[in-house]
Symmetry: C2
Subunit: 203 residues, 2 copies
């Protein structure tokens, strides 16, 4: 297997953290997003949608989309289970993983992509009004997550799951997006400190 | 079980089509999005993120997010399998389901929400420049999907899957978003006619 990766982009980090939680290591190849290497003919043959990460299996099969890659890895190496043990737990984890994507990760992404000068060549056209609208959305989601974390240790329940990975990568992306966790969100702060202390967070 | 639904919104339709493909029927309660019923205290207690659909189980457990609901239903009623039979097929279907969400459904949603006058009270603030940017993205994704459908019957392979449901709902949403399938995309036209002819498409 080989993972097409980028050390600074948030999506590939989700897969690297997932692999680290599984105790797995996969060879990587860095895709230089700054040089728009994802838009070359070579990389477009790997992923016509021109995004990282992409996982290439030994037989040449290609899997794209971070969570599809993670779910494939879960199939190869089930323990520790990060997508849920039974039908109901799987649904609850997917609900929270998607909430973290749609209401936290996506607004932070949009704020970053539409406001940061470094994204001018990648996000065409940048629409600053849209970036600004998303700052408020990201902060609203943080407050909702804080309320949930008042009564449980992890995003989706009593155990660490893929939803914590998406949320961690989103929260860590707030810094380049020029946002920060408000001081009063103490449960979110507690959760962030605990998840950041896991060895996988360095991935 | 009860499904909080809305007959005009695209996300609940994904769940209704999924249920129809499974031969299942679930009682529904209409949430009046036009009257902003999703933002009331009553509905916020069901889904603090204020979105439909939401599935309430008989014991009161609530599952939100369309695909989390669909995956739960697949657990209850595995046949016909719509999320994949084994690890690799499951990954391939999830890759395509997410591609249809991120590169087709989302741009069409953004074009609709930021340009349609009827969305003024729901999408605050509307950012027309962002709506326009997404029209081009949606059309680009359609062309990529057309190329894929030249060599296989369904979005993710040889069998109908949840990826076809997301793609159908996205394509049918193009009309209110004032977009249409370009005439030259004959493979996409063929696929759309076939999927629209399935009884589930009326759901």
């Amino acid at each position: 297997m080989k993972l097409y990766d980028n050390r600074r982009a948030p999506n590939p980090r989700r897969v690297r953290i997932f692999l680290a939680e599984k105790g797995m290591s996969v060879p990587t190849e860095e895709v230089d997003l700054g040089a728009l290497a994802q838009k070359t003919e070579t990389f477009s043959a790997i992923n016509p949608f021109q995004r990282v990460p992409a996982l290439v299996l030994d037989d040449g099969t290609i899997i794209c989309e971070s969570i599809a890659i993670c779910r494939y890895i879960e199939g190869l190496q089930p323990e520790p289970i990060l997508f849920g043990r039974d039908t109901l737990e799987t649904a609850r984890i997917e609900m929270w993983e998607r909430r973290m994507e749609h209401y936290l990760f996506a607004p932070i992404a949009q704020a970053f992509r539409h406001l940061h000068p470094a994204m001018k060549s990648m996000e065409v056209p940048q629409v600053p009004a849209w970036g600004e609208a998303n700052k408020a959305r990201g902060l609203k989601a943080l407050a909702l997550v804080d309320r949930e974390l008042a009564s449980r240790p992890f995003i989706a329940g009593d155990t660490f799951s893929v939803a914590d990975i998406t949320a961690l990568v989103a929260v860590d992306w707030m810094k380049p997006a020029r946002l920060s966790i408000p001081d009063e969100l103490v449960h979110l702060q507690r959760w962030h400190a605990e998840i950041s202390a896991r060895p996988s967070a360095a991935a």
